[in-house]
């Protein structure tokens, strides 16, 4: 008995030691999670882990002050709109040294300094678009800081004479059309061709429910004035994908749709996943400051239709694929390395995810883990139409995260197209895809019917013959008796 007890105690101790071993292996200061089919939170392995930070002092200049936007060029250089210091800081591709600082722009031989530059965008040709907010202009510079173009004081019939043009965020498509979010502008994104204002773009329509309409109808004028104004929400961040579609984030208090993918006509063509939600967190109930819908402030379009949203409220980064499925959620608020206080801008390239924190005055870097890389790769392959190749990678994802619904679904679909309906059913059920399960089941049922049709017909035939024979026998026996 005593021996047994000792052994048990040892086991307990051992399990404790092992437990802490596992816990200390995860040094990531936040949870990585996802929502399952029933919208429960499911913790997953970390998809991205902190990989250091860049601040003004680490690259050899004075610290940032209230920086508001970053843009990463194709060559890896990071452009920071250091609004509080009225300058643009360009960080070299090695992230350790300074490339240059742009204080202003030479116009007619005179230096015109920036005043609160809020947004920045760098094109593939290394043209720098700067939303010079307080100077009410968008400045376009080339790689040698020479002025290329300047957009200011837009003229149009739809604009007032004394229109205060205060661009916050800026973005450029392949044809050189400029899109800009304007401070206090609820009509949509301003679109410029060259430096001519061509119109508003992607206006968000206000949804007023029937009940709200009813209450407004019966309210008096004074009451109505005190109610909230039903104005469209403003956009918060911009990015553009390879096809020239604009990704624009907005504040959605319902938490349903915080990002739009706008086609050249300005219509929203974003695809939503199974839960019809591209608004960040799904579980947002509660009464504290920490509850409520995610406040999405920026979007980073990545390879293969994947895009990441940055939540300012809870400091989380939501990554979706082109079909609107949530891939992974990570990040959190705090003061540890790898957490945010006031995240304002997100960018991504094939090395890192970059998040600018205006309060911490630094850019936080995140690098992909094996888990994250596998998901990115599999989703990318599916985006390209190579579902078969993606299967191998989905298997690897399953090895790391057994309950990954996307992986199960991917494997199930592959089995389905390979004709193994029984396995397809198994994995599609695990992946909670009723639509494809139904297809697999239909084929499986047909197979089963075909295989056993002979038996069924034989049994039916025997029954019918037996019945007829029985009736005949009965008739005869009745006759005999009669």
């Amino acid at each position: 008995m005593k021996k047994k007890l000792k052994f048990l105690a040892l086991l307990l101790l051992l399990s404790l030691v092992l437990e802490t071993g596992v816990a200390s292996a995860g040094t990531v200061p936040y949870d990585t999670y996802n929502y399952d089919y029933w919208e429960n939170i499911v913790l997953t392995p970390a998809a991205y882990i902190p990989a250091g930070s860049i601040s003004g002092s680490t690259v050899g200049t004075t610290g940032f002050m209230n920086p508001q936007d970053i843009s990463v060029g194709d060559d890896g250089r990071i452009y920071v709109a250091d609004s509080g210091n009225n300058r643009i800081v360009v960080i070299a591709a090695d992230h350790k040294s300074l490339d240059r600082v742009i204080e202003g722009v030479m116009i007619d031989g005179k230096l015109s300094k920036f005043n609160g530059p809020y947004g920045i965008y760098v094109t593939k040709e290394n043209l720098i678009y700067i939303a010079d907010t307080n100077n009410r202009r968008i400045v376009v510079l080339d790689d040698e800081d020479n002025l290329v173009d300047i957009i200011e004081n837009p003229q149009s019939e739809v604009l007032a004479k004394d229109y205060a043009f205060m661009p916050l965020k800026v973005c450029v498509d392949y044809a050189g059309r400029v899109y800009s979010i304007i401070k206090g502008e609820t009509l949509g994104i301003m679109q410029f061709e060259g430096h001519e204002f061509t119109g508003y773009f992607g206006t968000i329509e206000v949804g007023i429910s029937l009940a709200e309409k009813f209450w407004r109808k019966i309210a008096t004028k004074e009451e109505r004035e005190k109610q909230i104004q039903y104005v469209p929400t403003e956009f918060t961040g911009l990015d553009i994908d390879e096809d020239g579609f604009i990704f624009a984030t907005n504040r959605d208090t319902q938490g349903k749709q915080a990002v739009r993918r706008l086609n050249p006509k300005g219509d929203d063509v974003i695809r939503k996943g199974e839960n019809q939600n591209v608004g960040g967190d799904i579980i947002t109930s509660g009464t504290s400051d920490y509850s409520g819908a995610s406040y999405i402030v920026d979007v980073a379009v990545r390879d293969k239709g994947i895009y990441s949203l940055l939540d300012n409220k809870r400091g989380r980064i939501f990554t979706y694929d082109s079909e609107g499925n949530l891939l992974y959620i990570f990040g959190g608020l705090g003061t540890q390395t790898g957490t945010f206080v006031t995240p304002v801008s997100i960018e991504a390239d094939n090395r890192f995810i970059y998040v600018l924190d205006s309060f911490r005055k630094e850019i936080l870097l995140f690098k992909v883990t094996e888990y994250g890389a596998l998901i990115n790769e599999a989703v990318g392959l599916r985006y390209d139409g190579d579902e078969k190749e993606a299967v191998d990678i989905w298997w690897k994802v399953l090895a790391l995260d057994e309950n990954n619904e996307l992986a199960n679904r991917g494997i199930g679909k592959a089995y389905l197209s390979a004709g193994d309906n029984e396995m397809a059913m198994k994995y599609l059920e695990l992946g909670n895809s009723r639509q494809y399960y139904s297809i697999a089941f239909k084929r499986y049922r047909n197979e089963l019917l075909k295989a056993s049709l002979g038996y069924i017909l034989t049994v039916l035939f025997v029954i019918i013959v037996g019945l007829v024979a029985f009736k005949q026998y009965k008739k005869r026996s009745v006759k005999k008796k009669g």
Binding site: W38, N40, Q435, S438, I439, K442
Partner: protein
């Protein structure tokens, strides 16, 4: 016990399905019904519903497996059943209904039999269907539900000797009555709780003095 579960009483249950008007009349006036059997029917329906939630085919089953709990389902249906019966009884008393509480309970309990039966049929059927055939599954459940509602309405009408319009009016009133009962229950428990905390605090005041 045999009084409640005699063969005659069980036969009445099946007789109701084909001859509802006669059956309910017999129940009201010749004591052919049994409250324990009615409660058993409600329990049966709870079990059937749990069975349906747990093991209907994947294509039509949208219930999270973790959330299925037979105890809470049964408790819910029993409470709802008693609430409805008491609510209906209190309303029909005022509207000169002839039925006793016993009759109402028997009526409602017996009426759930078609719903239980068709839910089982639908659940078994759902093991062999695809998404396109889900409409048939819903139809089967629908038939059971319509039959049950029909039986319950006819039953309430017969045991109280009401017209159809009056029956529907009482059912609507019953729902309000249920809400009032719940409200009173909540208020009562809350007030009792406050009284208890009051005496508790008086007690603590005294012993710490």
């Amino acid at each position: 016990m045999s009084k409640y579960f005699s063969k005659e009483k069980w036969k009445m249950l099946l007789y109701l399905l084909s001859h509802p008007a006669d059956g309910f009349y017999e129940i009201r006036h010749n004591d052919k019904g049994s409250v324990p059997i009615a409660i058993l029917m409600i329990l049966l329906y709870s079990v059937v519903i749990t069975f349906n939630m747990m093991s209907s085919g994947f294509v039509v089953n949208n219930t999270e497996p973790n959330s299925v709990d037979i105890l809470s389902v049964t408790f819910g249906w029993i409470v709802g059943y008693i609430l409805f019966s008491v609510g209906n009884w209190s309303i029909t008393c005022l509207m000169s209904g002839e039925g006793r509480l016993k009759d109402i309970m028997i009526t409602i309990g017996y009426s759930t039999l078609p719903m239980s039966f068709f839910t089982v049929i639908a659940t078994v059927f759902s093991w062999g269907i695809t998404e396109e055939e889900a409409a048939f599954y819903n139809m089967i459940i629908g038939i059971g539900t319509v039959w049950t509602v029909f039986l319950a309405l006819l039953g309430i009408m017969t045991v109280h000797n009401f017209t159809l319009l009056k029956t529907i009016a009482t059912v609507v009133c019953t729902i309000f009555a249920m809400a009032i009962i719940i409200f009173i229950y909540l208020m009562f428990t809350d007030l009792i709780g406050q009284v208890i905390t009051f005496f508790k605090s008086v007690y603590t005041e005294l012993i710490f003095r």
